[in-house]
Symmetry: C2
Subunit: 246 residues, 2 copies
């Protein structure tokens, strides 16, 4: 009679994942940035089947040898496409169905990332898929996307809108040093509406997630603007009220 540990060892020895019908599993990313006063999303042109030559969200399969966990896969993919080191990254949601991929039942863990446009060097050429920023606004429409990526993108965009209303999230779309007016503009771009300056500043100060860079200002033909950066090690700040009331 085997004891429990021995039984488990025996079980694992005989266990072969290839004996089962299991779904494909990938990780995809919705990467937002702000360029030229407009929210943009990163898309790549697929170099392989399926959907070869069509636009899609960047992503790919988990490398069970290289990646220690899902976050590692996401970070690896992010680095491959943008060269970015420490962006804002959170998991959005999983998607999975029999029909989303013609190769069969497939699932994907979708991540949501915000990066400053000044930190990006898009990967190009070689075997890498072509990557390109697409603006998101009322005038422009994204190209048709592969798989169910159009639906996934909509969910991500909705999450961005919602979360900006009650958190410090939007600060991660800016370069490391910025003014409060920069920050307010980012909020306005994302939310698509004007925000009152006074109310906005009271709220940001109250949130206490910025460091004032003492003696550092941005100069122009006006009163110099204080520069700030995100406080070291401060995660997202959540407010107990949203910005707007409808």
């Amino acid at each position: 009679m085997l004891n429990k540990a021995q039984s488990e060892k025996e079980f694992l020895k005989n266990y072969n994942i290839h004996d089962y019908d299991i779904p494909l599993t990938s990780v995809d990313l919705v990467i937002f940035t702000i360029r030229e006063q407009c929210l943009h999303v990163l898309l790549v042109k697929r170099g392989d089947f399926p959907f070869k030559g069509e636009w899609s969200l960047p992503g790919g399969f988990i490398d069970v040898h290289k990646d220690k966990d899902l976050d590692a896969t996401a970070l690896r993919k992010l680095r491959e496409k943008t060269g970015v080191r420490v962006p804002y990254l959170e998991q959005l949601q999983g998607f999975g169905s029999r029909t989303r991929d013609p190769r069969g039942w497939s699932t994907t863990f979708v991540y949501f990332s915000l990066i400053a446009s000044d930190q990006i060097e898009l990967a190009h050429g070689g075997t890498a898929d072509a990557a390109q920023w697409f603006p998101i606004n009322a005038e422009s429409r994204l190209p048709k996307l592969a798989f169910d990526h159009a639906e996934i993108f909509q969910v991500a965009l909705q999450r961005l809108y919602n979360k900006v209303e009650y958190s410090s999230l939007a600060a991660h779309l800016l370069p490391t040093e910025f003014t409060l007016t920069d920050l307010q503009q980012v909020y306005q771009i994302v939310l698509g509406r004007q925000i009152d300056k006074s109310a906005f500043r009271k709220r940001i100060k109250e949130g206490n997630f910025l460091d004032e860079l003492e003696g550092q200002f941005r100069y122009g033909s006006n009163r110099p603007a204080q520069l700030y950066r995100i406080k070291e090690g401060s995660g997202l700040v959540y407010y107990s009220r949203t910005l707007s009331n409808e």
Copy 2:
């Protein structure tokens, strides 16, 4: 020369998922209910390796033949364990790493469910794993859980706490007909603190997600209490402020 559709067809013909090292993919559930004035979570005793005989969150593998998408897998698992038909179900988050399952790289899509305790018949006996409700409060501790389920449970519990603060979520822990005092008690149990009755009622009425059952009351040795039920087809209501201010 093949055209694009033919090339893709050719590619798919030669594609065999078993040629690749890919992770295991499962769906797990964190199912909450309220029994005897206390929040409970459903755990099952594992009938098979790995972690045979240990407690875990209910769940299992995607059945690529039966399930059309992830939600279908989650609903199937929920029905198998509890017999419940239309509970509150949302996806919580995915987890995946090389180490969480001794069989190898594995991922799981975790769902989050709230159900009324009066609607449940726990599946027992046969080959089914034994299922049992465990109380969640300061005095009691959950047993040691298999895989990374202890961590997953903590994330789910945190989500419950947070979401109850700014939404109508907690209403889904009640049987179909309830009084406002019932509802307030559920909020208090989940949040672990008292709530002011007047403020609470103003908020709920404002939310407009309940139907007053005209002429139906719960009687006792006091003024009869109006019965309510959740409005047909109303999803969650989100408030622009949380209940508490810290």
